[in-house]
């Protein structure tokens, strides 16, 4: 098959980039923790995921319906995480179990029962 040698080059470049991005995210984690720590870690993870999806999984060479399926699932994952985040950060403070100690089944139930 003809595409083999050119795709091999793409695979090698992507693999090296993935190793590099892993080193980058580990290095970023050694910086002092701040409000940007998680967004940076997630941005690097997303870049790595894009390399896997577009190069290793050949997303663009597959039928367009495949992209629709993937986009739909990602949109719903995003919506679920967004609304959970909105709920939990804006919740009435008394509804939060602030100090569960070592949460046991009983104490957890008690925190939510009333």
């Amino acid at each position: 098959m003809t595409p083999h040698s050119s795709s091999l080059k793409h695979y090698v470049v992507s693999w090296l980039s993935l190793l590099l991005l892993t080193a980058l995210t580990v290095a970023a984690a050694s910086l002092p923790h701040g409000p940007w720590s998680i967004p940076i870690a997630l941005a690097i993870a997303t870049a790595k995921a894009a390399l896997v999806l577009f190069v290793f999984m050949h997303l663009l060479e597959h039928p367009p319906a495949v992209r629709l399926v993937l986009a739909t699932s990602l949109v719903f994952v995003g919506l679920m995480i967004l609304f959970v985040q909105l709920d939990v950060t804006r919740r009435f403070p008394l509804a939060r179990p602030t100090d569960p100690g070592h949460v046991t089944d009983d104490s957890f139930r008690a925190a939510f029962d009333d």
Binding site: A45, Q85, T104
Partner: protein, 212 residues
Amino acid sequence: MSSDARAAHLADHFPDAEAQLHAARLGMWIFLATEILLFAGIFIGYTFYRSLYPLAFREGSAHLDQTLGTVNTLVLITSSFTVAIAVSLARAERGRLAAATLGLTILLGAAFLAVKAFEYAHKLEEGALPGRYFRLDHAAPGANVFFTVYWLSTSLHAIHVTAGLGVLAWMAWRCWRTEFSSEYFVPIENAGLYWHLVDLVWIFLFPLLYLA
């Protein structure tokens, strides 16, 4: 020979091989979408509990062995790379070489599970366990919840790795028998896609559990 193989693999209800390939790929991606949604449940749990117990999650993260996590990330990424090469080789009708590359992928996957098992054994011993089985001293409130998320997510992922190893072994055998060609490669391609998905999940689990 080649047209015989193609005729043998073309199901009656498809007009031609291209329609069959499209249907197979779409079906596989719909399955992958359900897998994404399955793991999304765990990521949502993570979001929820991290907001409730930010300190416990950071302490829990610091408690995990970052070196082992990083090594496993590199191992799994490399296995994704080798499986992509194996699919190319199978399509190029280099069955024996494809089987050998899949063998290397299986070794990497097994190495990932071995490191994971070593990590689990250590966690078991020190009592960094989920929910009510948690017995680490001096832990922040909610630390047991972090370890619940850790055990649930990594064990669900490890189950997927194990299943993937079985599928890859089966595909290595079929590659060895040169069953695949430039015209017929759906099983090996789909096996590769599944393995890449397992890698994708880990790409997000690793920073959230070990680094954040």
